[in-house]
Symmetry: C2
Subunit: 217 residues, 2 copies
């Protein structure tokens, strides 16, 4: 009885496992293709990106895209996951700064760097990819809202922790403070898309952090 063969057949073979598959081999690198799809969705948004444009950008014909990634919605979700795990990883890093103030400062300043980085499209994909959209895209719109809320929760939980650790006054409303920082971040994203420079964003952040509540605690 063969009980070893099929076990990893269900998984999409990762780029690093040179498992000899049966049929004709893929003529492109899945990860590279997904990265290119991410770049397009990032700069044009969900509805602003057409399959035709994706075909051009990935250099793959349409049926291969559908066979590999599923439909446009599925491809967007996979690109979004890559975005969250890759370029946006700086957010998680910021959470482990020693104090709440440093968390906020690191989060915002690395955002300023990230949002205006010339190697990327301007602005944050989670903020801009589907702020407004037609009725057919409300699912994607809602998922992005959930992701924003999720990051906001990350901040508020970190601030709650800071209150127990003593580097943030116990009288501070961690939820409101998190919403404040998230609001700044989202505003910075709009500013970056509108052409603001890193230095300009840094000046905004400097003002934003002057209202940090520790000075009143």
């Amino acid at each position: 009885m063969s009980d070893v063969i099929d076990t990893e057949k269900l998984e999409q073979q990762s780029a690093k496992s040179p498992v000899k598959s049966r049929g004709r081999p893929l003529a492109f690198n899945q990860d590279e293709a997904l990265e290119r799809a991410l770049q397009v969705f990032w700069s044009r948004g969900y509805e602003g990106t057409s399959m035709a444009e994706l075909v051009d950008a990935l250099g793959i014909n349409k049926p291969s895209i559908y066979a590999t990634f599923g439909n446009k919605e599925a491809l967007f979700r996979k690109a979004l996951a890559k975005y969250l795990a890759g370029p946006v990883a700086y957010v998680a890093k910021a959470m482990s700064e020693p104090t709440a103030y440093q968390v906020a400062e690191k989060f915002l300043t690395s955002s300023a760097e990230f949002l205006t980085n010339l190697d990327n499209p301007r602005g944050c994909m989670v903020v801009q990819a589907a702020l407004t959209c037609g009725q057919s895209s409300t699912m994607i719109q809602q998922e992005l809202i959930d992701h924003r809320k999720n990051y906001e929760n990350l901040l508020s939980q970190r601030f709650e922790l800071a209150k127990t650790q003593g580097d943030l006054s116990s009288q501070v409303d961690a939820v409101a403070l998190a919403k404040y920082i998230a609001t700044i971040h989202q505003g910075l994203s709009v500013q970056a898309t509108s052409g603001a420079s890193k230095d300009e964003l840094m000046a905004v952040i400097k003002l934003a952090l002057q209202s940090w509540p520790t000075k009143f605690s």
Copy 2:
């Protein structure tokens, strides 16, 4: 020689002038129709709005829309003009507050009210209607960027004035302060679209205004 007849033929007869026009009369109120178009563009954005949806919302068939307002782009611009002259008039009002701080406070608090008003779509149309879009809409995208920049300039000019009037320290960077207030506003717009309540936005504003530079001047 008839030199009196044609003079006001070029103007679109305003709703208040019951000038007997020659042919079949309009079966709808132009201003009402434009208001409905505004509501759709406001909630769905430029690309997210289809002509079919506009036909439904206005209750007018497509050729009449084109005859009255021009194409989709022209209709959007007219709806945007109505938006700027109507719902957004509160911004100009805020500028005439007596001090720079009161200008910022009034601007932001009335924004919080406006952005979460249940009678309107959530969020600001100038911020959200075309943050990302396909290549065919980059003109509209740029026009909205220009409008945002325009409002930011209004703020910075008002703050410069305040410096000469003495209610804002002459050492303050008015341009940076204006960009800070604009960034907050844009962040609030994203928050409102994501479901934040007026009270939540007010709490954010309270934090944002704690960094007001007068206390250091």
